[in-house]
Amino acid sequence: MAAGAEGEGGFAIHPMDQFIVKPLFGDGGVGLFTVSNATLWMAITVAVVSLLLIAGTRGRALVPSRVQSMAELLYGFVRKMVTDVAGEKAAPYFPYIFTLFVFILFANLLALIPYSYTVTAQFAVTVPLALAVFISVTVIGFMKHGTHFLSLFWPTDAPVALRPVLCIIELISYFVRPVSHSIRLGANLMAGHAVLKVFAGFAGPLGIGAVLPIAMMVGVFGLEVLVAVIQAYVFAILTCVYLNDALNLHGHSAHDEDEHHSDYIGVHPDSHAAH
């Protein structure tokens, strides 16, 4: 959009400008309490979620209205995800996971409105989110199991000689979790929105030839809608997987979406040979 204004000098595309955090009022820097575009879009996200889930369910209708059935669908979806992946023991943490899911989902979807701001493309947002999950899951693990929680890192079904090596791998993969958890979300959103902006930049100076980049934008936009939903889902389901590890150690049949369990595949034949 900015490219259109200064389009004379060829392609002046600044795909990353959309991620700049700017104060809403005044022109100064961004201090701790500065109300910025980030503040605005977080507030809009909270407002939209509240509108859907609180105002939309005000009727408490036995036969739900359209908005209420959307809210119920969302509730049922997350509820099922939490209990399917992490078991019934995870029920007390359902509001927490639900909050994370709807916040990310609506931040992602609202970011697709033209001229909006992408809250979840900021590592300043995704890193605290992932760290919050990492820290709370670790705390829950130690609270539930005490030091026995450390057995998560000691694969007893592997040959004794391999266990220290696997332990190191497990430890690394455990501490990499918040990194991958946050980068996955932030980078996906950032890349998609940057691509959209690049095509938009092409469209400005091309005149009638802009049909091509606009067609591409339509396609990429569709893809971005998909990414917005999938990334929120992935963030939430990984939270459930981590929570499952903490609650049930290796007990419950977790959906092994994460990378660290693939290490076991090569080990299993050895463990059988050892017996």
């Binding site: 700049i20 961004v30 701790l32 980030a38 979620v49 889930l53 369910t57 036995l62 509730y75």
Partner: protein, 200 residues
């Protein structure tokens, strides 16, 4: 849960970044002027992190309380209520089905009863009629036999009378014949005895 752990994690980042924030405040205005030419990743501009994290924590805490205190209990209870309502409706439907089945059974029973009663009544009536017919028959028969007896008696009487008349007529005729053939010789009593002997 996280709202307790998060501020500690944030505090570290914030504390580190806050100093940088104030220090880079002057540099910011310069950066702001060159905003349109930003080439790096604005996400890595750590100067904006404390503010973003601050507002994120507020947004998440507010959202968490709205969800866990209002939205989720409400939706949960609505779903529960609906589940209960459907369950009770199904129960009621099963109840009605059972009642209908009972009514049908009662109806079948009543029908059976009515049918057997009808048969009973028919048999009774038939027996009664038979009895009446029998009685009438017996009466008729007795009357007929009575009449027959009376008639027979009368016939016998007439026959006896006739027989007596025959004897008398025969005696008279014989006496008349004798009178004609042998006038004055006939003894009335003798003729009569001879006729009676002849008639045997």
């Amino acid at each position: 849960m996280a709202s307790e752990t998060e501020p500690t994690g944030e505090g570290v980042v914030e504390g580190a970044a806050h100093g940088a924030d104030t220090a880079a405040h002057g540099a910011d205005t310069a950066a702001h002027g060159a905003e349109h030419g930003a080439t790096g990743m604005p996400q890595l501009d750590f100067e904006t992190w404390p503010s973003q994290i601050f507002w994120l924590v507020i947004a998440l805490v507010v959202l968490y309380f709205l969800m866990s205190r209002i939205a989720l209990p409400r939706i949960g209870s609505v779903i529960e209520e609906r589940h209960d309502a459907i369950e009770s409706d199904l129960d009621r439907a099963a109840d009605y089905t059972r009642q209908a089945e009972e009514a049908e059974a009662a109806y079948e029973l009543a029908l059976q009863e009515a049918r057997s009663k009808a048969q009973e009544i028919a048999a009774e009536t038939r027996a009664e009629i038979q009895k009446k017919v029998d009685a009438a028959m017996a009466e008729a028969e007795s009357r007929i036999s009575e009449r027959t007896a009376v008639s027979e008696a009368r016939i016998a009487e007439i026959r006896d009378e006739a027989a007596a008349s025959v004897e008398a007529v025969a005696a008279d005729t014989a006496a008349a014949l004798v009178e004609q053939m042998l006038p004055g010789s006939a003894d009335d009593a003798e003729v009569r005895a001879a006729v009676a002997a002849r008639l045997g």
